[in-house]
Subunit: 456 residues, 2 copies
């Protein structure tokens, strides 16, 4: 028998009364330009977060390590069950600035959306969860469970020090379930529950062919680092855009028949995705179910940045001495960052590109929870009465979050309750969130806390 | 019968007396940061040039066209024969600044070399030629010929308006021979006469695959502009570094047996070139005579710059929406820029890269003079007594200068008298010139003017 549901009218009234103030609070948070790797604004954002926890009446832990942004932990509520909420106060760099309609750190509300770097990822989602926790406590008198917000300052640059923080304070990962940052609705507004996260392997490839840039008249003889890098990169991808890193795909766990059958029940808004991103064709011409399978079960091999030689306005005629490519590989079970780097190194070496250096960056292993876990059922139930549609259960999100570090030690199940829609432009210029959707997210969050507390 | 040679003692004495002041004058000129495409400092450099001509007693023409740096022409001397000197007051951009030992526009003399952007290319060579002309006039009382310095302000960005200037003033290209900018000595100090220039076809390739950069979780579906550009570029070059642009090499005039025989008499300091540039192997593993043939008779297909996505410090995980490559193709007879662009376009189209745009930049046709032309003989004779070695005659320089525009209308022969050595690092950080070599160049220049005047 499920526990009797409390009356959520008082909670919903508080949410409605506070929603305008909540939007202003989000704008305040987004004014802090806490771009990942920028120590000074990151500290401001960490302090803002800690202060916000204090105002909510949470127990605050402000953890520090050398050369790392603080890890801010806020714990609120009580009872036998503890929910972890994985969040972060750092944001992606806002460049290229010229593509923003309004400046990234001067939040602006237009047509019900708040535009700012971090509006969605993750300041927006973090705040509405905390705001919902507060409102639920105020409505019910006390919280039905304990919630531990674990708010990082370097999620966008690979959570480099999270492992160290967790080693210092292993009690942080004790609990009974976790919310992944993000979540929300799909391209046509149906709520989505995400039950996994991709891993990530970030590397920088570097080639040097000359002691210094040379006059390009010398190009008949002098090796060009840009050409060398292009030639190396070209071996990593087939003409049909297939991933051709030797051995890389051999580590990918194949989807089961049951997983494929579930995937077929999920909508895939191909035309909408293409419209939003302005691309008439997907990678490799994938379409329909094949594209959906790739989106869910495939790793990536992405060039995030490429630079060599003269990149300014005008013309300069040189043979570049150096070239760099930043690559991020999104990982699915059973790939991990070590395997990915090893495959890449062996692939390049086998083709004679021993001169192409691989500088490893951040790494995260993937982490997936079965989509029929009771935690996921509770999250689904929390949407009743707020969204018309039953939530869709997705195996994993395309992006990465450090859930493996947080949840693998105790095997915690994970899901998501977020306020993102297909227009948020996370990581891109004109990031925004739909303020109404954030309010709906808060209402779902309140109900989920009650459902989560009632789980065995 | 050659005309009786004047006594050069008085001239040589003047050169020796003035050489220290000349170096200071070069430092003054190099303090003007006249980077190509930078209108304000270019105007300063144009005015400096015009003023310098006036001080030398030259007739000055300060030609202007809209949105173009001035063309400064200085004419001095008289008699039936006119020598053109092709020069420029603009310099290559000084970036990357952090690789300069001393700032590029704060000239510094270290161990007999003057370090500054433009010290060699072309402020240094231009100035010693003018200084030599002045000194010869002062020593002999009058010049034996007329010299017309044509000093451009956009040579380093492809002489875009030179054709217009020359159309306005077609008398500028009348004369009996021309000096190419540059010239000097080879890797081991032997004087070199360059009898041709490469052409140039500058293009920017551009690809857009998305309306805006996307979160790289989307890389399973969203086409990446960097990958697209890499794939397109990779088709332009074989694994052995061969140029594989369809049809491009078909237009290259094959060397004659006589040319190859002459080439075999020329030194090729392979080890020295490799040492200076810090590269153990040449492009495609070329070595010995094959490398020398390529250096002389091959066009290039060079990536001068490459940029896409996030290129800053740290990590950003995006699918780049756009990617650019700057390419410069050095041309030999019988290629010209139109042919090069057409080959490139057809090559890309044939492989389905119709989405890769080619934005044409500056273009120059190649121009070669036979190495046994009387002008070249006169230049060779001018070196007697100053250099121990007979000058080596090179078919062409690896770089480009607008000699086709200046000399093709009247078929003027060309050669070079310059002060560059293998350490000048033209277009690169730490550009410099050997001040003693500039003085030797001035002494050669004085003798050449006398020899040039005596030609039929």
């Amino acid at each position: 028998m499920p526990a009797p549901q409390p009356d959520f009218d008082a909670f919903d009234r508080l949410v409605a009364e506070r929603s305008e103030r909540w939007a202003q609070e989000l704008a305040d948070f987004c004014r802090i330009p806490s771009e990942t790797d920028q120590a000074a604004p990151l500290r401001l954002a960490a302090e803002w977060t800690a202060e916000r926890f204090r105002r909510a009446g949470a127990e605050v832990r402000f953890l520090e390590r050398p050369d790392a942004p603080p890890l801010v932990v806020g714990e609120i509520g009580g009872g036998p069950r503890t929910l972890l909420s994985q969040d972060h106060y750092d944001v992606q760099p806002a460049t290229p600035l010229e593509l923003w309609t309004s400046p990234p750190f001067e939040p602006q509300i237009r047509k019900g959306r708040l535009y700012a770097r971090g509006a969605a990822d993750d300041k927006g989602d973090f705040l509405f969860r905390l705001q919902a926790v507060e409102a639920l406590r105020d409505a019910l008198g006390e919280l039905p469970c304990r919630v531990r917000f674990i708010v990082e300052g370097e999620e966008e640059s690979g959570s480099k020090h999270l492992a160290g923080y967790l080693a210092d304070a292993p009690d942080l990962v004790e609990g009974h379930g976790a919310l992944i940052e993000g979540g929300g609705v799909d391209e046509v507004g149906r709520p989505v529950l995400v039950c996994g996260v991709s891993g990530l392997c970030y590397v920088q490839l570097h080639v040097r062919t000359l002691a210094y840039d040379a006059h390009s008249g010398g190009a008949r003889l002098l090796p060009n680092a840009a050409w060398r890098l292009v030639q190396a990169l070209a071996t990593l991808r087939g003409p049909d855009d297939a991933l051709t890193i030797d051995g890389y795909l051999d580590h990918v766990r194949q989807p089961t028949e049951a997983q494929l059958a579930h995937l077929r029940t999920l909508p895939f808004e191909e035309a909408e995705i293409k419209r939003i991103h302005g691309c008439p064709v997907f990678v490799g011409g994938r379409t329909g179910f094949a594209a959906q399978v790739a989106e869910t079960f495939q790793p990536t091999s992405n060039i995030a940045g490429l630079v060599s030689g003269f990149t300014g306005e005008g013309e300069k005629t040189i043979v570049p001495a150096e070239a760099w490519a930043k690559m991020d590989l999104r990982l699915v079970p059973d790939l991990d960052p070590e395997i990915a780097v090893r495959c890449l190194r062996e692939h390049l070496d086998r083709r004679g590109f021993t001169d192409v250096e691989i500088e490893p960056g951040s790494g995260e292993s993937p982490y997936w929870t079965p989509i029929d876990d009771p935690l996921v059922d509770a999250a689904a139930a929390a949407h009743a009465g707020i969204f018309a549609d039953e939530p869709l259960r997705f195996f994993s999100m395309p992006g990465t979050a450090p859930l493996h570090q947080l949840c693998a030690p105790h095997g915690l199940p994970i899901t998501s309750i977020g306020g993102s829609d297909a227009e948020v432009r996370a990581h891109a210029p004109d990031e925004s969130c739909d303020l109404d959707l954030m309010v709906k997210g808060a209402r779902v969050m309140g109900r989920f806390l009650v459902g989560f507390a009632a789980l065995e």
